[in-house]
């Protein structure tokens, strides 16, 4: 595709429900990142996929968060038993090779937990 696509663009969920956020990276990009951005704040690293290597999960804030990347392309970030503090914009980015190549960001998914 032309760019990184994320869906949904907005998600409102009730506390305690599970949510799935989707990221379609740029075709051919082997690296994929998930970041979280709270209002007016910086980018908090969540997880990194690169090729066939084991993902770097060191940024996941709790075991309620998980992510997978199927077939080296589409990625899904799952948040179980959502809490109000999970409310944020979740940004996905892809890069051709790794951290040494430009990262292209999607528009993000704005998650609101009520």
């Amino acid at each position: 595709g032309a760019g990184v696509s994320q869906s949904p663009s907005n998600k409102v969920t009730e506390k305690g429900k599970d949510v799935e956020l989707r990221c379609d990276p740029i075709s051919g990009h082997t690296a994929l990142y998930w970041y979280r951005q709270s209002l007016g704040q910086g980018l908090e690293f969540l997880i990194y996929f690169q090729g066939n290597s084991a993902p770097d999960k060191s940024g996941l804030p709790s075991d309620r968060f998980s992510a997978e990347r199927t077939g080296g392309s589409v990625s899904t970030l799952t948040i179980q038993r959502t809490q109000q503090e999970d409310s944020a914009v979740y940004l996905c980015a892809s890069s051709l090779v790794n951290r040494n190549t430009e990262a292209f960001f999607g528009q993000g998914t704005r998650l609101t937990v009520v």
């Binding site: 990142y33 970041y35 007016g40 704040q41 910086g42 980018l43 690293f45 990194y48 690169q50 290597s53 770097d56 060191s58 940024g59 940004l91 980015a93 790794n98 951290r99 040494n100 430009e102 990262a103 292209f104 960001f105 999607g106 528009q107 993000g108």
Partner: protein, 111 residues
């Protein structure tokens, strides 16, 4: 863990004034990238620096990578209202495969 800090957190300038944001890492970086995020938008890549002491320019923007590869700066000459946004540095740190983003500097330009 590895941290990348930016100062200042926020700066308000009059149009035409210069602006500088500084990025400091607790560890040596293999590379540094700079991104700009407009209000309501997503981060967009500006540039990458790799070599110690490297300086690159893009029109009114000047980027520097420190000799020790632990700090970087972005300087904007004669700011314009189109420069409004948050500027992030992002580094490749030893021991971490992913890009680590700095805390960001929000620039407001008064016309």
């Amino acid at each position: 863990g590895q941290q990348v800090m930016q100062i200042p957190q926020y700066q308000h300038v009059q149009e035409g004034e210069d602006f500088t944001t500084y990025c400091n890492s607790s560890t040596t970086l293999s590379n540094i990238q700079w991104y700009k995020q407009r209000p309501g938008g997503h981060p967009v890549f500006l540039i990458q620096l790799v070599k110690s002491g490297e300086v690159k320019k893009q029109k009114r923007l000047t980027f520097q990578f420190g000799e020790a590869k632990k700090n970087s700066s972005l300087h904007i000459t004669a700011t314009q209202t189109t420069d409004v946004g948050t500027y992030f540095c992002a580094g490749g740190a030893t021991g971490r495969r992913a890009l680590t983003f700095g805390s960001g500097t929000r620039l407001q330009v008064q016309p």
